[in-house]
């Protein structure tokens, strides 16, 4: 029996109605403003998305969720990406912070925060990397020490996307030294209220000129006991099943998708054989990636934990979206005439491409996870 199980799943036809609904909404509410509009924080837009019930779609109704399927969420996520909609404010909370809270937060925390996320009023960031620990998550040093009624945090997180907008962070802090027999022991997940004193967010400019990620410095920052997520020292056991959500979505191969549309446009309606073959391959590959991602979402819906399969989607998908600008540039190399729009789209995509195989788990880390899934580790 192969350890890899991609169930053969097709998006049910009846989801086309939901897709049309989302497209209609985007035409009205989110006319794409520019190449990077998806990275924008737009409070008004996120509130409207929340009002439509498209945040926390799969969560229980008692926390403001929609109790809808992972495949419905897949359709909404996909259309938002393709429509270049400004989802930055709510997307992290929708994709991963909310599910973590659902699983590990106490009841009062769930009741106070989850409904705000689903209304599009609550922005989350993720505090994992530190100046001395990136892919090697378990080398994190930012310390949480016992205090009356809670914990005191001292240290620095880095490359934290959206920290300058976030209301909350889910942070990974060291509560005990690593154990001799298990170096992953001793880290705990916390809910961080970014409005409390003792926290400083310093922007870091990226190579595309954007200021999306940050350095976050904690100085005697207090976290109450009821904001501990899960078991103290045991974060390493908790980080697994969420990864399937985080890694398998359509946002893991649609980040540069506008290059494909611009390529189709610039090649014209009768491309030469080279252009046609190249375009056809890219379209077929994208179709295959969608099929794989839909499969993982269908498996999530069936209550499985496709962690290995999710890692495969991110590995193959991010490499594809990263290579897309260079591939399109080659295919359009001999196109004469009007190509300014195409060139601008490719240039922009090329400047974001390097991060795609780093954020949320590098290619190298993913391949280690896949190798473990194959029984090689």
């Amino acid at each position: 029996m192969s350890p890899i199980q991609f169930d053969q799943i097709r998006l049910p036809r009846e989801l086309q109605a939901l897709r049309e609904e989302v497209r209609e909404f985007l035409r009205r509410e989110a006319p794409a403003t520019g190449l990077s509009s998806r990275a924008e924080y737009n409070a008004e837009f996120s509130r409207k998305v929340g009002a439509r019930g498209w945040i926390g779609m799969t969560w229980p109704k008692r926390y403001g969720g929609g109790e809808r399927s992972f495949l419905e969420r897949y359709v909404v996520t996909e259309e938002f990406r393709v429509g270049n909609a400004p989802v930055a404010l709510h997307f992290t909370a929708d994709r991963q912070s909310g599910p973590i809270l659902l699983k590990y937060a106490g009841e009062p925390t769930k009741q106070s925060i989850l409904p705000r996320i689903t209304r599009g009023e609550c922005c989350f960031c993720i505090g994992m990397s530190e100046p001395g620990s990136g892919s090697d998550l378990f080398a994190a040093k930012t310390k949480a020490t016992r205090a009356a009624g809670g914990w005191t945090i001292n240290g620095t997180k880095i490359w934290t996307s959206g920290a300058h907008h976030a209301n909350y962070m889910i942070g990974l802090f060291r509560t005990s030294p690593p154990a001799k027999e298990n170096r992953r022991h001793g880290l705990t997940q916390f809910l961080v209220d970014m409005s409390r004193p003792g926290i400083k967010v310093n922007p870091i400019e990226d190579m595309s000129g954007g200021k999306h990620f940050n350095e976050v410095v904690f100085e005697d920052f207090f976290i109450p006991d009821d904001h501990v997520l899960g078991d103290v020292d045991m974060a390493w056991k908790q980080a697994t099943s969420e990864l399937a959500y985080e890694r398998s979505g359509p946002e893991r191969f649609l980040e540069t998708i506008h290059v494909l549309f611009a390529l189709t446009r610039v090649l014209g309606d009768k491309p030469d054989l080279r252009g046609a073959e190249g375009l056809g391959r890219l379209v077929a590959q994208l179709h295959t990636l969608r099929r794989m991602s839909v499969s993982v979402n269908g498996m999530l819906q069936a209550g499985k934990e496709p962690v290995l399969e999710g890692s495969i989607v991110k590995d193959v998908g991010t490499l594809w979206e990263q290579a897309l600008p260079a591939r399109a540039r080659e295919l359009a190399a001999f196109v004469e005439g009007e190509r300014a729009e195409f060139d601008a789209v490719v240039r922009h995509a090329a400047t974001i491409a390097p991060k795609l195989t780093i954020q949320g788990g590098t290619t190298e880390v993913l391949r280690g996870i896949i190798a473990r899934g194959l029984g090689l580790r």
Binding site: R19, V82, R265, G280, A284, T288, E309, D315, V316, A371
Partner: protein, 263 residues
């Protein structure tokens, strides 16, 4: 797949395991394995799976037939099962009688529906073969010791095998999608979307196996050589890609996403 479908898959697997094991075939000195294997497939109705019962076939669904083909790929099938299935499908579709015995089809036919179906058939066999290549390569990497440890412990080898897993998953998804499209829309109006990953997959498997995988006595070449042959039947992936690309270009950029999203 329903219970009947699982029965078909189980029967296929049992026959190949007992009578068509690629390692045993590879070491055999003669062709004496051929007749019993074919007879077993025929007796189980697998060679006529896509022929309706009233024409003397097994009347299996399109999906069941593709599952037979995927499993036959796992065993690097050495008898013309796919060709006979496909010929039966084409003859029955034309309302013609299906003769007994192994059949063949023109893999460069002018019949477009046959070419699409043939390409989907080959894609599914290739996906099955890649699954088996992945399993065999992983097993070998755990067994083979070099530099005082199993080579599967080396990161470079692990990463190669992780890539092979990605290629295999993609091949399965592509073939599954083609099979599905045919089962649900047998009109063949749209270009069937295909992308097969044979090249990279075979290259990684050979690299992991080293010299032994290049030897005639090792079973690996039965798989990789079939992958290389199959990918050229019924139009190479380049030909299908060019056709798909021309189709997308003609429809225009604004139609591209709606077309993809509807599938």
């Amino acid at each position: 797949m329903n219970i009947a479908g699982n029965l078909v898959a189980d029967a296929t697997r049992r026959i190949f395991r007992d009578l068509g094991d690629p390692q045993a075939l590879n070491l055999a000195r003669d062709e004496s394995w051929r007749a019993p294997l074919w007879r077993a497939l025929e007796d189980a109705g697998l060679t006529r799976a896509w022929v309706p019962e009233n024409l003397g076939g097994a009347g299996a669904s399109i999906a069941e037939g593709f599952e037979i083909l995927r499993i036959s790929g796992e065993y690097a099938v050495a008898v013309p099962l796919a060709e006979t299935l496909l010929a039966g499908w084409a003859l029955a579709r034309a309302g013609k009688n299906v003769p007994t015995g192994p059949l063949s089809v023109d893999s460069a036919s002018k019949d477009d529906a046959l070419m699409q179906m043939g390409a989907a058939v080959r894609a599914m066999q290739m996906a099955g073969a890649l699954q088996s290549i992945l399993d065999r390569s992983v097993a070998y990497a755990k067994e083979r010791v070099a530099f005082e440890r199993p080579i599967g412990g080396f990161q470079a080898v692990q990463h190669n095998l992780a890539r092979l897993a990605g290629e295999t998953a993609a091949a399965l998804a592509a073939a599954g999608s083609a099979a599905d499209a045919i089962a649900s829309e047998p009109s063949f109006n749209d270009a069937v979307l295909l992308e097969v990953a044979s090249e990279t997959g075979a290259a990684i498997a050979h690299q992991v196996h080293g010299a032994i995988g290049f030897s005639r006595e090792h079973v690996l070449h039965r798989y990789t050589q079939r992958l290389w042959a199959w990918r050229d039947d019924f139009g190479s992936e380049s030909r299908w890609a060019a056709r798909l690309g021309a189709h997308c270009a003609a429809k225009g950029a604004d139609a591209l996403w709606p077309m993809l999203a509807a599938r």
